[in-house]
Symmetry: D2
Subunit: 239 residues, 4 copies
Amino acid sequence: MDHRNQTVAVIGAGDYIGAEICKAFAAEGFTIFAGRRNGDKLAPLVAEIEAMGGRIEARTLDARNEDEVVAFIAEAEATAPLEVCIFNIGANVNFPFTETTERVFRKVWEMACYAGFLTGREAAKTMLPRNRGCIFFTGATAGLRGGKGFAAFASAKFGLRALAESAARELMPQGIHVAHLVIDSGVDTAWVRDRMAEAGKDRVLMDPASVAQTYIQLWKQPRDAWTFETQIRPMGEAW
Amino acid sequence: MDHRNQTVAVIGAGDYIGAEICKAFAAEGFTIFAGRRNGDKLAPLVAEIEAMGGRIEARTLDARNEDEVVAFIAEAEATAPLEVCIFNIGANVNFPFTETTERVFRKVWEMACYAGFLTGREAAKTMLPRNRGCIFFTGATAGLRGGKGFAAFASAKFGLRALAESAARELMPQGIHVAHLVIDSGVDTAWVRDRMAEAGKDRVLMDPASVAQTYIQLWKQPRDAWTFETQIRPMGEAW
Amino acid sequence: MDHRNQTVAVIGAGDYIGAEICKAFAAEGFTIFAGRRNGDKLAPLVAEIEAMGGRIEARTLDARNEDEVVAFIAEAEATAPLEVCIFNIGANVNFPFTETTERVFRKVWEMACYAGFLTGREAAKTMLPRNRGCIFFTGATAGLRGGKGFAAFASAKFGLRALAESAARELMPQGIHVAHLVIDSGVDTAWVRDRMAEAGKDRVLMDPASVAQTYIQLWKQPRDAWTFETQIRPMGEAW
Amino acid sequence: MDHRNQTVAVIGAGDYIGAEICKAFAAEGFTIFAGRRNGDKLAPLVAEIEAMGGRIEARTLDARNEDEVVAFIAEAEATAPLEVCIFNIGANVNFPFTETTERVFRKVWEMACYAGFLTGREAAKTMLPRNRGCIFFTGATAGLRGGKGFAAFASAKFGLRALAESAARELMPQGIHVAHLVIDSGVDTAWVRDRMAEAGKDRVLMDPASVAQTYIQLWKQPRDAWTFETQIRPMGEAW
C-alpha cells in the first residue's frame, strides 16, 4: 500500500458505516483519525486496518464537546494535512410528539446536528488556508421528511442538512468540497436482518461498505463537477 | 365585539408580526395570551387591544425555559380553552461559517427551534383531549434553503420546519391543525424601510397585518381542507 | 347579490371542483365564463347559479386548441374585465411504464399541461395591460412526486407546476397573482365514497366546495402577501 | 482495450456532453450506439473512438418519432445486450411568457420530455426480461426550478424528471437502475467561454468529460446503493 501524507478524520466511527469509511480511506493510503464515544471499541477496527497495511489512530471523542473536537481535528492536522473530514454521528429515535422529553430533543440535536456544526467548522478552519479538502456529512431521509414520531430526529437531521448546505455555498467557491449524503435505507446489520426476518421480508440490504464507496466517489470528483447532495438506496427500497 | 370563551397563545409577541397576530385574533373575540422576553414591552399592545374592546393578558416569557412554557400554556388554558397557539420567535443572524461561535449556534437553535418544540408539544398536550385546536409556526425562507452565512439560522429554521411537519403528520388525524407559514420577505418595519431607501429600492413591502390575516385564514380552514405549509411574499419579491 | 363588472374564466368546469369554483365566484358577484369539453353538461350548473341570482356563460371548449382558448378568453374579456382565470383540467391515469402508449402520454400532457400553458398565456396577455388579475392552476400531489405508474400524469402535472412557477416569477412583479394549488387528496364524489366503502375506510373526505373556498382566499390576498403555492388535504390524509 | 459484448445507447449524442459520454463508455469496452438528429455530424466522434480502439455505430435519429426510437433501441439490442441507455437531448430556450408560441412550447416538450419517455420506455422493455441495465436521463436545474422566461424549457425538464422518478420507482425493484443527473451549470464550450469573457468572469467551467465520468460512476454503483438523483456543479457556481 502506498501511503499518502494526508489524514482523514472520521467523527462517529461506529461499527458499521463509520468503520467501513475508515477502511475504505485507509485502503487509499490515508492515515485515519477515528473518533467515537468509547474509543476502546475501536480496537478491532485498528487491528483490521493495520493488518491490511493501513494506518489509523483511534481516539475517544465526545463530539458534542467543542474542546474535544478542536483537539481531535488539530491532532489529525498535526500528523498530516487533513484532506477529508466525515461527520457520521446518528441518533435515530422515535417517540410520540407529546412524549418527547426536552432531554431527548436536546440530546438528539447535540449529537446529530450540533456536533456536526463543530466538526464542519473546525475542518473548514483547517482546510481554508490551502483551499482544498472535503467535508462530508452522513444524512438520512429524516433530513428531508419529518415523519410521524420523528420530531426530535428529523429536526436534528434537517438542521444538519441546512448547515451543510450553508457551508457548501460558502466553502465550495473557496476550494472545499462539502457534501451531504442521504442514506435512504437501513444498512445491513445483524439487527436489521433480524427485524427483516421477523417481518418475513427478503430484500437486498445496503452494505455499509457500499456507503463507504460512495464517499470514495465523492472524494474523487474533480473541481468542475462536485456533488453537494446525493442519495443512495438498495434496489428494492420503496420511497 | 363578541367575545369567545377561547384563548389564543402567542409565543413571541414582538413588535411587528407578533403584535399584529394578537390584534387580529383579538378582533375575532379571543382572549389573547401574549408572551415575550420582556413582558413590559407589551404595554402599548395591551392598551391598543383593550381600546378596541379586546382582551389580552401580557406575560414575560423565556420560551427556552420548559417550566415557563408549561406554565404559560397552562394559564391560558385555565382562563379558557386554548384554541390557537402560535410560535413566532425568530433569531435571524448571519455570520461566516468559520466565525459562527458555538454560543451563537446554540442560542439561535434554542430560540428558533427548541422553544418551538416546547411550545408545540405543550399546546398539543392541551388540545389533544378535545381533538381540536390549531398550532401554527412562523417559518422563513431560511427553513427551506441554507444560504451563505446562515448556518446557524437556517439550521434552526430547518429544524423548526421538521418538527412542525412531524407534529402535523401525527396530530392532524387527531383533529389538530398544524401549519408552517413560510414568510419569504422582510416585513415592513422602520428598519427595513431605511435599508431599502439606502439601497435605492422602491417596492411593496409586506405589512405585518397581512401576515396576521394569513393566520386568520388558516384558522378558518375547515377540517376537510387543511394547509400544512404555505408561503407568502410581496408582489415584487424575487425568489 | 351585488354584481361586479368583472369576469372569472374557469377552464375545466367539471362536475365537482370546477362547478364549485364557478358557484363560489358567482356568489361573489362575478360573471362566470365556464368552459368544458361538452358544454351541454353545464346546463345544471347554469340553472343553479342563475337560481341563486348569479351570472354565468357556459361554453363548449377544447382547451387543447389554441384558437378556442384565445376566443374563450377574449369573449370573457369582451363581456367585462377578466379578473380571475382558473385552469382546472385533470387527466389522472395510471399505467405500468412499459404499457404507457405514446398516445396516452401525449394526450395527458395536452390536457393537463399544454392546455394550462395556453390558458395561462392568454390570461396573462389579457391582464398585463392593467397590471392586475389572478391566474390560478389546480395542481395535484402528482405535480410534486412521480409515483409508480404515474409517468404520464406526473410528467404532465410537474410540467404544469413548472410553467406556473415560471409565470409567477415573471408576472407577479407586474401585478398579476399566479398561484398553484396542490390538492393532496381525492375529493368527495360518489365514486370516491364507493371506493372508500369497498376498502372499509371511513374518513373525512375533501368537499369540492372547500377547494373552491381556497381559491376565494387566494383571490382575496393583498398584494403584499401573495401565496404562489399552497396545498390542502383533509385532516386524516396520510402524506 | 477489452471489448464487452454489451451495448450503450446514447440518444442525443451531441458535440459536448453526448460525445464525451460515448467516449467514456467506449473506453470501458462497450459498443456504442450513438443517435443524433443529423447522423453525419457524428463522423469525427466515430473517427476518434475508432482511433482509440473503441466501437461505435452512428445513426441519424429523430427521437421524437416513436418508430425511429423503437428501431434504434432494437438495433442496439440486436448487436449485443443493451446495458446502458442514456437520454441526453436538451432544448434550452428563454422567452417572455406571453411571447412563448404554442409551437415552441410543444417542440421543446417533444424534444426534452416526450423523446425521453419514448427512450426510457423502449429501454425498459428491452432490459426487463433480464432484470438488469441502466437508464440515465440528463437533467438540468430547470427540472427543479421554473425560472423567469423558462416556462417552456422548465415545463419540459420538470416533465422529464417526473417520468424518470416514476420509472425509477417501478423499475429499480426489478433490477434496472434509473437515474436523473441534474447538471447545474453550463458546460465548457467555446460559446460559453466567449460569453464568460464578455462578462469579464473567470471561473472553473464544467468539462463535458466530467459529466461523462459521473455517468460512469452511476453505472458502477452496486445494487445495494443506487442513486436516483444527483447533481453536479463546478466549485464556483452559485446556487
